[in-house]
Subunit: 203 residues, 3 copies
């Protein structure tokens, strides 16, 4: 039940970031919805295909309805208001936190090793945004220099979730604890511009 609700929230947050990413790209209304949906369901779809379980939005079409609604709503809101500067990054942080947790939890539930849970959790968390960036012709956010602990935050949250799930298996609160870790790390990194050392090589 918690998972079902969180998955809907995850889809709606991610759809909003996809639609907002269309700003200044001269994309038409349909393109906005497509970008929104790709971002919203991309990560979870990849997760389900890799786990070889039925794809969540194919089994339950309500995800499509909510994703499209959130995309259209973001389109309208962004057209008539000027959102504060960091809105996209903050909404994106919520989406990242939720999708990563759901990916980790679903993989764990199918009985896979901890390393697989973390990899699939982080992958599903960042895949939607990567697809959004590749499709709108940008360098994926994850690989940009100023991206302040993006996938790293997802990985830490995923590990914390696995830890608390080991201590108290199946508690819905575990998902929220893990999501909180991702969110806290990501927002802190955005605020204080924390980042990992860069990959520099001798010329």
């Amino acid at each position: 039940m918690t998972r079902y609700l969180l998955e809907h929230f995850a889809v709606m947050f991610s759809a909003a970031t996809g639609a907002l990413a269309a700003r200044g790209k001269s994309v038409d209304l349909f393109g906005v919805v497509v970008l929104g949906m790709v971002t919203a369901v991309g990560g979870g779809t990849l997760r389900d295909v890799l786990l070889d379980v039925p794809v969540f939005w194919i089994r339950d079409s309500s995800y499509i309805v909510w994703g499209v609604t959130a995309s259209l709503l973001s389109f309208v809101v962004a057209r008539y208001t000027l959102p504060p500067r960091n809105t996209l990054a903050v909404i994106d942080a919520f989406g990242l936190a939720l999708v990563t947790m759901l990916g980790t939890a679903k993989t764990l539930q199918h009985g896979h090793a901890a390393a697989v849970c973390v990899v699939l959790g982080v992958t599903s968390g960042v895949a939607g945004g990567i697809l959004r960036d590749v499709l709108s012709g940008e360098i994926p956010l994850v690989f940009r220099t100023n991206i302040y602990l993006y996938a790293t935050a997802a990985m830490c949250g995923s590990l914390v979730f696995l830890g608390v799930s080991h201590l108290q298996p199946g508690q819905p609160a575990n998902l929220l604890i893990g999501a909180g870790v991702v969110l806290a790390l990501r927002l802190a990194a955005l605020k204080w511009r924390l980042h990992l050392p860069e990959f520099r090589t001798p010329e």
Copy 2:
């Protein structure tokens, strides 16, 4: 039977657009065939993976033979003749119409909700072209400003097909009616440069 034939036509049309998209890109002969095949089977492959059914060209390798043949033929024809200006867009419209219908019909046949049928139909219809564009380093056609009702035409055809399939289930003519709608909308949009309102935001 109709489906089997249409699927072969869809692969050949899409292969031709993929091969033609290699024009002016200094791609070698093998790259032309790869681009042709990716465009030809990309959409249907994504459809089959998401539906969790055997991938069509893995079960029946004749699709590979026809796709490669169409790619090579387009390569030769484009090398020795100068096709009229809109050739690529018109062939692409035929490919889009057929692949969208086959995607919608196959999803419907597996008993999924109407919203899922439309999403998978449109997704498979546009995925091949998106892959072609991403791989050849272009902004995907679907998101370009001058793209005149591309995915929107696919969606309308998909909806019309679902409507007539509700009235007279299983008629092969339904596929042709839906494909006709996509084709008519797309060609009309190309001719009169129709488009949806763009996503403009206050600066």
Copy 3:
């Protein structure tokens, strides 16, 4: 057994090329590992999803451990030494040879037609590198003009492997013969800058 070992080598070689491709891109440490892993498991993952068999690194998480280790090692080595000019291309040739052979062999083992084996072999061989290039914002290597028989070498090796497997089925040596063909062709093409005729069209 041979297959198991070769698959680990393939993952490690490919991970190294992914990590090295991050040079001069101002990617952080995590991005290096992500690029390494995507390159390392991308091709095999696509192969397993298309064949509808369990994804190899989900079933056996040791591939994740080795891939991450190889990525980190390459990062450290590349940071403190200046590798010779062609290192990336040569390691990439080893990765291409192994991944192509494993893809062809696994498809053959599942009883598919020869054309399907070749297509899946070449696809899995080149997919990891294509993903790496798309994610790091480059035109995929396969489509670059100076790419000297990349996918073509994979295809020849795949065909030779199918030929010798027909004569002496199930010999582990077959894999090595096929991989040797890919490697020889690719290295020869790099050395003498061999290439297929380009796709030029009348302007």
